[in-house]
Amino acid sequence: MLTVHLPASLQRDAGAASLAVTEPVGTIAELVEVLERRVPGFRSLFDDALLNFAVNDELVLHRVRDRPLADGDVVELIPTISGG
C-alpha cells in the first residue's frame, strides 16, 4: 500500500487529505493513472500545475514517471513556485 498526500486544491475533490493506494503500482506513471481514476480534477491540475512529487520526503526533479515506488512509500504532491 502507498500513502498519497494531496495538495489543498485537490483535497475537496478527493474528500480527504490523503489517499491509501492499494492497487499494484510500481512507478509514478502508474500512480498517476490511479489518481486520474480516483480523484476528479486531478488530470486538469496535473496537466497545468507545476506539481512535483516527493517520495518519502525526497523531491523528484527529473525522470519522474519512471521513479520506482514500493510498498509502504509515502508520496506527496507539491505545487512548486518561486519566491521573493
Binding site: 526533479l61 512548486t80 518561486s82
Partner: protein, 651 residues
Amino acid sequence: MPIRDRVARLLAELPDAPQYPTQGATAFIDLERREVRQAYTPVSVVRALLAGRGANMFYLYRLLDESLAPLDPGVPLIFGSGVLTGIVPSAARGNATSWSPESGVLMDCNAGDYFPSFTKMNGYDHLVLYGRAPRWTLLHVKDGRIAFRDAAPYVGLDNLDLRERIEADFGGAWTRDLAMASITRAGERLVLTSAIMAGPKACYARGGPGAKMGALRLKAILVQGQTHDFETAQPYKGYNREIAQKLLATSVVKHALKTTGTPFLYKPSRLLGAMGTKNHQETTWTDALDASNIDPYRPGMAGCFRCPVNCRPLNDLHGDEADRYGRGDGPEYVTLGKFGPNVGIDRIESVIRLNNICNDLGLDTASTGSAIAWAMELFQRGIITARDTGGLELVWGDAALVERLIFMLSRREGFGDVLADGARAVEKGHYPPGALRYRMAVKGLMQSDPHDARILKAFALGLAVSTRGMDHLRNRVTLEINARINDDPAFKQRLYGGAVSAAPTSYEGKERAVRVCENVFGVGDAVGMCRFTTQLFNSPSLPGLDQFAAQIANVTGLAFEPAALDRVGLNIMGVERLINRRLGVGRQDDTLPERWFEEPITVGAYAGEKIDRAEFDAMLSRFYALSSLTEEGVPQDAWRRELEAALEGRA
C-alpha cells in the same frame, strides 16, 4: 565633473515634452538647493532600454562619478516606474537605482505596493535625487507638483508610526490616494542593510537603499492624488482583461500565490535538501516552518495596485492586542528562510514576529538575516567571541537574541553597529579577513533567498552573474525545479531556445536558460511587471515578451517585436555591466561563495553535490559567449559601441 554639471549637460540633451502617450517626466531634484527641473527620456533610449529599471540605468550611467563614494550626495538615487506601471494588471512595480553602499557595486531594487503607480499617475516616470538636503526633508508630490517640506516632525519614526502620522497629517488613505517611499531610523543611521519602505512590508531592498536615501537627508517621498486612467495611443483595456485572465488562470497563481503566497516554496527546498540552514552549513530544516503552519495565523491576503493576484499574506499571531508586532504583512519565503533555518529558529510564531519587526524597522530581511547568520557562524567557530559582541552569546536558534540583535542593528548600538555594516564588516575592520570565507555573498551582496544552489547549477550560475550581487530575482531559472518540464526535452528546448539538460545537477545548457530568464526579467522590470507574474519565474504560461510587446504598442504607440524586447533585456544587462566595470567589477566577481565549491551537500537525494570549479568556469565562459560578453564579462566591442552611442545620445 560635479553632479550639477552632469545634470545640466544631460538636461541640455533631453526633450522637454513627452515622446509618446503616457510617458511621464524625469524630475531632477536637487535636495541641497531645493530645485526641481524636468525633462523626458529620449525615444532612442526607450527603444534601447524602455523605462523603469532600464532607463534608470541610462540616468545612472550618465550621472555616476565613480571617483566619489556610494553615500556621497553627488551620486544620485534614481526611482523609475515601468512603461506599463499602474496601467496593466500586476504591473505595479518600479526600481530604485544607485551605487550600492552595501555591496560597492550596482544597486538596483524593485518594489510594488502603490508608490510606483501613484508616481506615474502624478506624471513622473523617474525621480533623480542628488545633493544633501540642508535639513531632513519630505518631498510631497501632488497634482504633478513637487514640494519640499520639513521632515523634522518625522525624524526618528519607524515604519508603523511614520505611516500613521503621515496619514493623519496629510489626510487621505493608503492604497486609495496616498503612497510613500520612506526610510526609518535605520536609514537615518546609514545602516547598510536598511531598505526604503514602500508600504507596510513592500520595500526597495538589496544594496542598502535606505542608507543611500538617509545620506541625502531625505526622510520620505509622499505621493498624493486620485487614481485615474491614462490617455493611451490605442484602447488597451480589452487586452488588460486578457492579461488578467491569463494571470488568474495560471495554476501556480490559483493554487499557491493567491492562497498562500511565497512561503509555499519552503517545503520543496527543504525536501530537496537545499534549504540554507545555519549560514548554509546545513541544508535541511524542520517541517514546522512549512507554509501550512502559517495557515492559522493568516487572516487574509493583500496586494499591490490593481493586481488581481493579491499574493501577500497578512498575519495575526492572536496575542496581546497591544503588541505592535503581533500582526503585520508577510512573511515571504525569503524572510521565512532567513529568520528560520538560516539562524536556526524552528518556531513559526518567532519567524512571523521577527518579520513584523523588520518591516517596522525598515530592514532588508535578506541582508539582515544573512548578516546575523554570518556572525553566528563566526561565533560558533571562535573567529569572534563574546568580547567582540559586548558579552552576547550568539547561539543558533535563540529567537529572543535575534530580536535583540535586530533592534541593536537598526540603531547601530553595541554589536549592532557591526551587524549594520552587513557584508562589509571585514572591510570596516570589525572581523578578521578569515571571516570572508564564511560570508555568503557575491559581489559584496549577501544572498537574497535561502535556497542553497549547490544542487541546481542553473540557480548557481544565476546567483554568480546577477549584476547586483547574489540575488535570485534577476535571472532565476525557477522551472529547473519542475520535474515535468525537465522530463519534456522538446518543451524545455522551446522555452529556452535551445537544449538545456534535464538533469538539475548538470552544467550543460544552463547558461542558455539563465540568459533567457535574465532578458525576460529585465524587460519585466522595465515595463513594471511583477516578477512573480512574469513568464518563466513561476510558470511558463504567465505574461511574457509577446504580451508586453502588444500592450506597449497599445499604450505608447511604440512598436516592438518580441525579439526586439528580448534585445532590450540584453541591453539592460549590458549597461549594468558597463556600470559595474566602472566600479571595478570583472570576471573574478561572477563567482560563488567558497563554501559551495568546497563543501558538499550532506543530506537528501543529492548528497555529495557541490560546485565543480572547472565546470563552473566553462559554464561561465559559455554564458559570456551567448550574452555577447568578452571573457572579462563586459559587452563585446561592437555591441559596447552601440550601447554607448544610445547612452550618449549618438544613436
